[in-house]
Amino acid sequence: MELSERRAGRAVVLAPAGRIDMGTADQLRERLIPLVAAAGKSGESVVLDFSGVDYISSAGLRVLMLAAKEARTSGGKIAVAALQPLVNEIFQISRFDKVLPCHAGVDEAIAAIAPAG
């Protein structure tokens, strides 16, 4: 799994690419949780650009649950954007579409949770 990060206004966009499973979930957790904690403190938001993610397992979804909990604790916001159809179905079946706001595109996610002042 590859991970890239960029800034877009008041949002940090983290873009994993590839499979998020038992073998790669820790890599995502180690990057995502501190990012969400820091963003919460600085009043920024985190958008997960999932356009490059072609599979996510329960271990990967657990990391997203940890991120959602961290966002609640630190007062930050987090959203997921651009889910591929297969990953979108996994979100629906696991009910993770009710855990995190899911947006069609990254720009929509930024506009929803980190609007330009």
Partner: protein, 317 residues
């Protein structure tokens, strides 16, 4: 090897209400309008075309499974309220002859032992009931639920020969014609899954088991336990989102984890079990078909059949 499901509901029995039956009947009559269904055969054939929840129910008894093999002993897994109809069926099959029952207990929570006071063979001299489990309190739990003020008939009044045997997880036992292995599972007060093997067939009974997903070694352990099984009966009580958030540490798992473990273990057939008592038939059927879809879209080479357990289901391995 055949597996009969006598009780499939989680935590507490859940009866179908009069309102629910009426709803099913009304929707079936509407679906049948304009059709010529003037014989039971035609009506039955039409009913089979409707969704499961429209004409049937997943059932309401708590956990009890029977395993049947030609030439093997009579085996039950757990003594939930499904043990009552299991007992009636066994007595009919025995036709007055004495029976020997081998019962493997996942754990001693109420929904898994509540059927024993209604397990008729236990009251009849001549029958033998051997109860196996890994909990030190195994015998105590069975005796206590029949003590006053919980039940009017004390354990000592039961006429059958009733024996208790402690098992060690990880050790292979030869019992009733099966090779039996128990595995410790995460659940309040611990629970144990069972792997039963006979003549090249293997079945797994893994209920009341939470998977934390944070420990690769633990996951590997379950993959090995499930490895190549012909049937995996799996605790799929909650959605994954609920199982790892609001219901974390409640000791149950999800359909998602069931599919993943069966795929990784190359198991053949996943049966969703220990249904959430708050779910009606339509909700369980939705989870079933979503799980079939999940298995389909995440499948690599190995296909896993997915079924939602119901009281009365029989699976041949």
């Amino acid at each position: 090897m055949r597996v009969r499901f006598w009780g499939t509901r989680g935590s507490i029995p859940a009866a179908l209400t009069a309102h629910s039956v009426r709803e099913k009947l009304v929707s079936a009559i509407v679906a049948a309008s304009g059709r010529e269904l003037d014989t039971p055969e035609k009506a039955a054939a039409f009913a089979d075309t409707l969704p499961f929840a429209a004409t049937r129910t997943f059932g309401g008894n708590s956990s009890c499974i029977e395993v049947i093999s030609e030439g093997a002993g009579r085996v039950l897994l757990d003594m939930g309220s499904g043990a009552r109809p299991a007992a009636g069926n066994a007595l009919r099959e025995l036709k007055g002859k004495p029976g020997e029952f081998h019962v493997f207990m996942s754990h001693l929570h109420w929904d898994h032992i509540m059927g024993f006071p209604f397990f008729t063979p236990a009251y009849i001299p001549g029958h033998t009931i051997r109860i196996y489990g890994c909990h030190a309190e195994l015998e105590h739990a069975f005796r206590r639920q029949q003590a006053p003020p919980s039940f009017p008939v004390d354990f000592s009044m039961m006429g059958a020969k009733i024996e208790f045997q402690q098992l060690e997880p990880g050790r292979i036992y030869d019992i009733a014609g099966y090779q039996v292995t128990a595995k410790a599972q995460a659940h309040g007060g611990d629970s144990y899954g069972y792997r039963l093997e006979r003549e090249g067939k293997a079945m797994i009974y893994s209920t009341d088991s939470e998977h934390k997903l944070e420990n690769a070694e633990e996951t590997e352990g379950f993959i090995e336990f499930f490895r190549g099984a012909d049937l995996v009966i799996f605790d799929a009580m909650y959605s994954l989102a609920d199982a790892i958030s609001v219901k974390e540490d409640w000791g149950h798992s999800s359909n998602i984890v069931g599919v993943e473990l069966c795929q990784l273990a190359q198991a053949k057939h996943l049966v969703l079990f220990h249904h959430e008592p708050a779910y009606d038939d339509a909700a369980i059927e939705r989870v079933w078909h979503e799980t079939e879809r999940l298995e389909e879209i995440t499948r690599e080479e190995h296909a896993v059949k997915v079924t939602a357990a119901y009281d009365g289901l029989e699976v041949t391995l």
